[in-house]
Each structure stands twice: as C-alpha cells, then as structure tokens.
C-alpha cells in the first residue's frame, strides 16, 4: 500500500488552464501529427492567447468551430474538415480533442473519431475539455490514445520506455545516460513520429519522466503488463540519482550515483547557498509542483505550501513521502492562499502565469511556474536550468532598487485598482 500522504482538497476559487493547452507542446513533439479541437470561439481564443500566435506557416492544430447553427445537430459533421487537413497537412495521425461545449452537448466522440478514421490516417479521440482536464493533464489522454499503436513487445524484450514528451536534446541526454549505465532502451512514448512508437510488452519497464501521466502508466500495466517504475521524477540531483539508480535496479544493475549527485549539487552551490533557509510557496497549475517542491526542499529551502491541481497517491508516492510535513493542497482556494502568503511572508512564490504580475505588484517575489514546463529541466543536464529558474527571480529582485516597490511607480497602470495594499512587510 502506498503511504498515506496528508493533503487537503479545497473547493474554491482557483486559477488554471484547461487541457487544450497541452497542444502547445504536443503538436511540436509529434511532428507528423495534427490536433483538431472540436470547440468554440472560446477555445480558439484560449489557444491563441496561451500559445502565442503560431500562424506564420500553417499550424498543425486548428479548431473545428462550433457555431450557433451547429448546436442543434446531434453529431457534428467533421468529415470535410478531416479531408481538408489530410489534403493540406498530410499528417500520419489526427488527434480529435474534446472541449466543454461538445461535452455538454453529449457528442459521442469515440464514434465520431471512428467514423472519420482510416487505416492510413487514424483519427484518435483525446478527452481534453476544461470540464475534466487541467493544463498538462491532457498529455495523459494523448498518450493513452497512442497505446494501441505501440507494437507488442515479446515477453523476453526487457527494455525501458521513457514516458512523457521531452525535447530532442533531453531525449538524447537520457539515451546516453542509459547506455552509460548499461540500460537497454526501447524508446520514448511519445516518439517524434507516429510510426516510431516503441514496442511495449510484459518485459517493458516504464520510466515516467513527467508527473502528469498517471493514467497512461496505469493503462500500460493493464493492457500490456508493463512494469511502471516507482521512483522520483528526474528533476534535480536528488531526483536524477533516485531515478537512475531505481531504473538500473530493474535491470539488476547495482549503481551508486552518490558521487555524481554530490558533484551535481556542488556545481549549483552558488544557487543553493542563496536558497538555503528561504521560504518558498508553490501555488501553480502545471502538475510539476510536487517534484519541484521536493527538489527545492532538498536544496535547503523551507516549503511553506505546495498546491497543485491533482495529487495521485500511487503515482506520486515517492515524491509525497519526501514531502512529509509540508502543507499539500489540491485545487487550492487562491483567496485563502493570499491570506496565507500575507501571514507567512514567503521569500518566493511559484505561481500561475495568471497571478504572477499581480503578486509582484503586491510586493511578493513571484516566479511564473509555467516556465518550468517549457524549460529543459530534466536529467543531470537540466539541473542548472532548474535551480536557475528558482533563483533568477530572487537575484533579480535583490538587484533592483527598493524604490521600485513604492506604489507611485504603479499609479495609473490599472484603472480599476488605484491603490494596491502590499501583502509583504518591509
């Protein structure tokens, strides 16, 4: 039984994106894919505002736009659009993403996807709507949709499959590291191309690289009998050491990475010196929060609170064990968090992108948590980037003239909020 970690769930006001945002990196990762979202003007506006404008060439994602006249039809007609996408983009696979409106309309997505799917260009249903999925979570849905297309590996094929989308440089880093330790690698899920998916079978060890993939990991066990490694996620010297030592153990390799871990910590000493004893408050929505809190704690900081959209007792078990004593909150009430911040005076808040500037406006040193999702923080090579994201805001604010926090310098910026009462003292 996994340990009984203590965390609370608050039902209240919180800030988060929906699952559609994952498209931002998934369409870049799976290079021969197309992401079609059956959605509304809202979904289109969300995508263009959260991903920036990516319309230079022809983006490999689009919204199949539900307009008023479409609301009455039981099953939306998307065949023409699929034909257009196939003709113009030649994708190997099309992901059909759900959104809130068709969910409310009770569109039968599985059937819809099947009706337009062909053996040449499969159309796969991916649940991603904001009613059920937050931010990075829908990568879990995309990977589940890909499972049937992973070749079946024979039982004696004992190799590792790394789970989670990472960029090529990180992938190479993991390949080299595995070969250095003598760990045989079957591939990555997802791979860069649809037809390069790794074989998975009962001998496969699944090594999760991202903490938001609990369901696909579970399904790989159920469908293919694969073994999902339970370890820390490979962030920070502590996480990397545990990850590789545990992975090696699955291949009966005894590996001691204590020296390597020590050297890695030594290399970022300049940063950890700065973090030592600092009070850090994590209030973000990327689902990376648990491992980030574990790392920053190991680096010497005091974690006042760690809130994240969802916690999975089993998938996050090892991380949770190391966060013993930290206040852990699921779907935190942001208004309560503001009160806690005022009370506990953190030195650094890892926040949602939505709340970063206002927190800074209230005198808090805030770091935009989304940046962790988009930075190469995995593995040994990512350690410096990872720790640097934590210290950058601290260093920058320390260098700025304290006069900058006088409210006069924000006067007139926000018409509706002429005076802002700082949350921080001194």
């Amino acid at each position: 039984m996994p340990p009984k970690a203590q965390f609370t769930r608050e039902d209240g006001i919180y800030h988060s994106f929906c699952g559609l945002v994952s498209v931002g990196w998934l369409y870049q990762k799976i290079k021969d894919s197309f992401f079609l979202i059956l959605g509304t003007h809202t979904c289109a506006h969300l995508l263009q505002n959260t991903m920036g404008v990516m319309i230079f060439a022809r983006p490999r994602f689009a919204i199949s736009l539900l307009e008023e006249a479409d609301l009455s039809s039981a099953q939306p007609a998307i065949a023409d659009q699929i034909a257009e996408i196939t003709r113009e983009h030649h994708p190997s696979v099309i992901f059909l993403l759900s959104s809130c409106t068709p969910e409310v309309m009770k569109v039968e997505f599985e059937g819809l996807a099947q009706s337009v799917s062909t053996p040449e260009v499969p159309v796969l249903f991916v649940p991603a709507s904001g009613l059920d999925f937050t931010f990075s979570q829908s990568e879990d849905s995309v990977l589940q949709a890909l499972i049937p297309f992973c070749p079946q590996a024979p039982p004696d094929d004992k190799r590792v499959v790394f789970l989670g989308s990472v960029n090529d440089a990180i992938a190479d880093d993991f390949l080299f590291e595995a070969s250095r330790l003598g760990i045989p690698v079957a591939g990555f899920l997802p791979a860069n191309h649809f037809h390069e998916l790794p074989p998975i079978g009962p001998g496969t060890i699944i090594a999760p690289l991202q903490p938001f993939l609990a369901k696909v990991a579970n399904q790989l066990t159920n469908d293919r009998g694969a073994t999902v490694m339970s370890s820390l996620f490979p962030f920070g010297p502590d996480g990397c050491r545990a990850f590789w030592e545990d992975l090696a153990a699955h291949f009966d390799l005894k590996v001691d990475l204590s020296e390597r871990e020590a050297a890695s910590w030594a290399r970022i000493k300049e940063h950890t010196d700065l973090l030592k004893g600092k009070k850090v408050f994590l209030s973000a929505d990327t689902l990376l929060e648990l491992p980030l809190a574990r790392f920053i704690r190991a680096a010497g900081a005091e974690v006042l609170e760690c809130s994240t959209p969802y916690i999975n007792r089993r998938f996050h078990a090892r991380e949770l064990a190391l966060l013993d004593g930290v206040r852990l909150v699921e779907q935190a009430n942001f208004e309560r968090q503001l009160r806690s911040i005022a009370e506990e005076q953190p030195d650094l808040v890892i926040s949602n992108i939505i709340t970063a500037n206002p927190l800074i406006g209230h005198g808090v040193v805030a770091k935009w948590g989304t940046e962790f999702i988009f930075s190469p923080i995995h593995g040994w090579a990512g350690v410096n980037t990872l720790v640097g994201l934590f210290t950058r805001a601290l260093r920058r604010h320390a260098r700025l003239d304290p006069l900058g926090s006088d409210p006069v310098w924000m006067a007139g910026v926000m018409p509706g909020a002429p005076e802002i009462i700082p949350l921080t003292r001194g």
Binding site: F17, H45, V53, M105, T134, E259, G361, G416
Partner: protein, 566 residues
Amino acid sequence: MRLAYWMYEGTAHHGVGRVMNSMRNTHAVFHAPQGDGYVNTIFTMLERTPGFPAMTTSVVSGTDLARGTLRLPETLRQVEATRHPDLIVVVASCSTILLQENLEIAAHQSGLACEVMVYDANPYRMQETAAAEGLFTALVKKYATPQPLTSLPSVNILGPSSLGFHARHDLISLRRILKTLGVAVNVVAPWGASVDDLRRLPAAWLTIAPYRELGRLAAEHLEAQFGTAALYDAPIGVQPTLRWLDALLETLNTVGSRLAVPPSPLKLPPLTEFSLDGMSAPSNVPWFARTADMESFTGKKAFVFGDATHTVGVTKFLADELGMPIAGAGTYLVKEADWVRSQLQGYVSDADFLATDEFQQVADRIGQLRPELVCGTQMERHTGRRYDLNVMVISSPTHIENHLLAYRPFLGFDGADVIADEVSTTCTLGMEKHLIDMFGDAGLELVEPAAAESAEPVLASNGNAAVAPVAVVAELVKPTNGHAPEEQSSNGNGSALPTGAAPSGQTAAVPAVNPVWTADGEAMLKKIPFFVRGRARGNIEKYAREHGIATITAEVLLAAKEHLGA
C-alpha cells in the same frame, strides 16, 4: 462549421472582463469551466496589471455537472468577502449557457449585500466588442441619474478601457487638450469609473465618445435621455483634431449660452499652447509632410485593416496628411462594415474594401496587393512579415510589442506625431533593407528574415509555450565569459561528466587547435535552433579546446552542455 486558426475578436466574456477590469469596485464572475479563466492572462501579461484583474471564474467541472453542484452562490460570497465590490456582473460561458440554468436565482440565493447583475451575453451571437459595448451601455442606463449641469464647462470621456488600443495614452492626450482649453473632465468611463461616477454622467455639458466600438451607445443614451450633447468623431490626425476642437468649443458655447448664468464663451487658444512646452507647433506633421524626407514616399501605397475607429482614422490620415495612395482598407468588425465603408467614401472603392473576420482572406489580399505599407493588427504584422512587407500595428488585437512604456497616443496632435513617426520609421527601415538586398550586406550583420520570423513566438502575447525553443538552448548560447568562475573549477567536475568527456582530465595548457565535428556531433548540433546555432557551436568548440578534446562527438556536445549549463 469551419476550421478556425485565429480570431480577431475575443469572446463575449472577455468583453465583460474588459469593462469590469476598467472600472473601480466592480467585478466579473464567469460561470465557466476552469480554462475560461485564461482571459485573466491577457490583462496580467499584456497590461502588466499590478493588481488581480477584476474577474473570477466560478469553476464548473464535469463532476459538478454530474452531481448537480452549483458553486456560483459560494463564489459570489467569496468575491464579496474578499473584494468588497459595489457591483458583480455574472456571465455564463459558451458551454454553461447550454445548461439553461437560472443564474438569476442562483445569484439571488447567495444573499449578497452588493448588487449582482446577470448579464445575458450569448457567446454564439456576441463577441468581445458587442458584449463590452452592450454591458457598458446597460450600466450607464442603469445608473445615470438626472441632475443639474456643472456650473463650468465640463465633458465626459466615454470609451477608454482596459486593453483598449493605446487607450491610456489617448486619454492622456485628450486630457492635455481639455486642460489647455480650460474644460473640466466630469467623468471618464469605463476607465477608472465607479458606479457612482456613472450616476454623475448627466452633469456634463457634453460627452466625448471617440471610439465607434465602445462608449458610443452610452453617449447616445445620455443624449436621448438627458439631452447631453455628444461628439462622436475621433480626432486622429491634425486636420480632424482642429475640426474636432471647433466642434467641441461650438457645442460647449451653445450649451453655456442656454444656462441661466452663461459663463464667458470658450475660445481656441493659440495653437502653440497645445504643444508640450506651450511654445512650439502642436504637431510636427504638417511641416514633416512637406519635407524632402517625405519625397521618397511619393506613390507608396498603403493597406489598412483593423477595428472601425482606427481603420477610418488611419486611412484618412495617410491619404490626407501624408499624401499616400490607399491600395485598400477594411475591418474585421463585420457589423460595422457599412459605417466604415461610408466613412471611407472617396478614399477606398467598394472593390478595394474588405469586411471579414477570417485572417486568411486578409492575408490573401495583402499578398495580391503587396503594398509598401501595411497598417493592421498583430495578425497583419505576421502576414506582412511573411511577405517581407513593412507593417505597423494600428488596432487591437495587439501583441506585447504594442504595449510600450512611453507615451504613444493615437488621438489628438500628439497622436498625429506618433502615427507619422511610426509610418516613416516603418517604411524607411524597409527601404534600407531593400538597399541591402540590392547591394549586398556591406559588411553588416544581416538578420535573416526567416530567423526573425522563427524567433517571433518568443515575443508572443504572453510568451507562454513560445518560450520553449529559446529556453532549450539558453545555456548553450550564454556568452561564455559569463562562465569564467565555473570554468576555473571545472577540473574537479570531470568525474560527473559522461565518459565521452574522459580526456578532459588534462585541461590546462592545450594548444588551440580547432576541434573537428563527427557526423553525430553535427547531427545533434542541428537540433539547436539555427538562429542561435552559430553561437552554440562557438561555445562548444571553446569548451572542447579548453579540455583538449580534438573531436566533437554527440557525447562531447552533451558533456559541454552539462558543463556550460553549470
């Protein structure tokens, strides 16, 4: 159903959020799934709001729907307890509106002391502009109260709003003009206005409503209901500003003459008084337009596309004040197309006029016309760059690049100078670039146009996913001199490097030979975006030389990356 890639206008709930975030002590509550709160980001990242935007998402989840939970009353209570607003406006989203819940009852159940208004904005019939204008008009109708006029001449300014195009700067420009005239500002709304300010609107002698998109219907209401005169023109350009001043003074003097105790009539002061120092030309445009500089603009054609106000104002400005031929113009506010077309009679023929909210059509038109200047939104900025055309942004929707710190109004004399500067720098730089194309780079380091374009997502509206490609290479392209201290200590770290870097044992004095790249090393280098690849290559070679490595394999590259990253 159609395939959509990009939208000019935001959604109805975004329009509601813009009005609420403009006002004091008002708050929007979205009855919506969690993702719909994304609109907050547009305020906090583009407008860089130091406060929390005045909008809260009352989250609706799939579980809530299954269980029949309605969080709205509780959210309303929390918003009232923490923000103490005078007014909360509740709006449904594209998905929750289909549930046909009675939000009035839910709002009532919350038992709030403050006023709660459920605004019926059907997101399938209304977009950002219509929703904002509709809500603002409804609020003015609701609160404006009959009262005597102010004893001295005063005006309302309706229309400036949060995320309005250069709205804060336009407001400064208008206030400067009014101050010079000696006319008081009664109320500005929605920008900075409270519910009480809306009550005071009918005390003004006149309403200035320069934007076709926001404030016009409220001004019409004040005119119809309270007889408050209104000035609907947008003073964009020098001549329109002069005409606008005449109309403003004439109307105010008429209103004043009807008062029991008429104040002395207002007179136009010497124009130099409108300048920043009070002793110069109020605008440099009339002289600039006649200078030799502008000679090179002769015959250069412009294409203008945007909202209604800016499309009309900028087209006329380019034609009338800079003498540029207009190749075409149009608007994405399809409902305003007739008005824009009629305003541009004599400037743009019907054939050259475009009313569409599909950016591909605009892009096609620009591609056919290849004008020397494109004035548009952030989307035309992209399109123009794709065709290597000169582009300036003259209308929402904007990009972070358009949210600059310095005073850059579009209205009034100050605005005329800003627009003319933008035109001339945009086009002149374009010309220089063509010279370079023709005569070679003359030793200049020319940024590849393609590079500029690839680098662009980095500047995307909130930098979100767009950060990725840059962050990936961040440590490889850091200037190596920034790493001096770490490099000194690198010997001790040898053991932490992958085996490929084993020769790094002997570092110190190695002769500076240029390392060679193996095929796999090159292949991995290619994975680094090309616009920073050159610098990454340099840093890796430097690393190799310093560590006495003669051959750069993929493994060495990774070792270098780990090392340089530290």
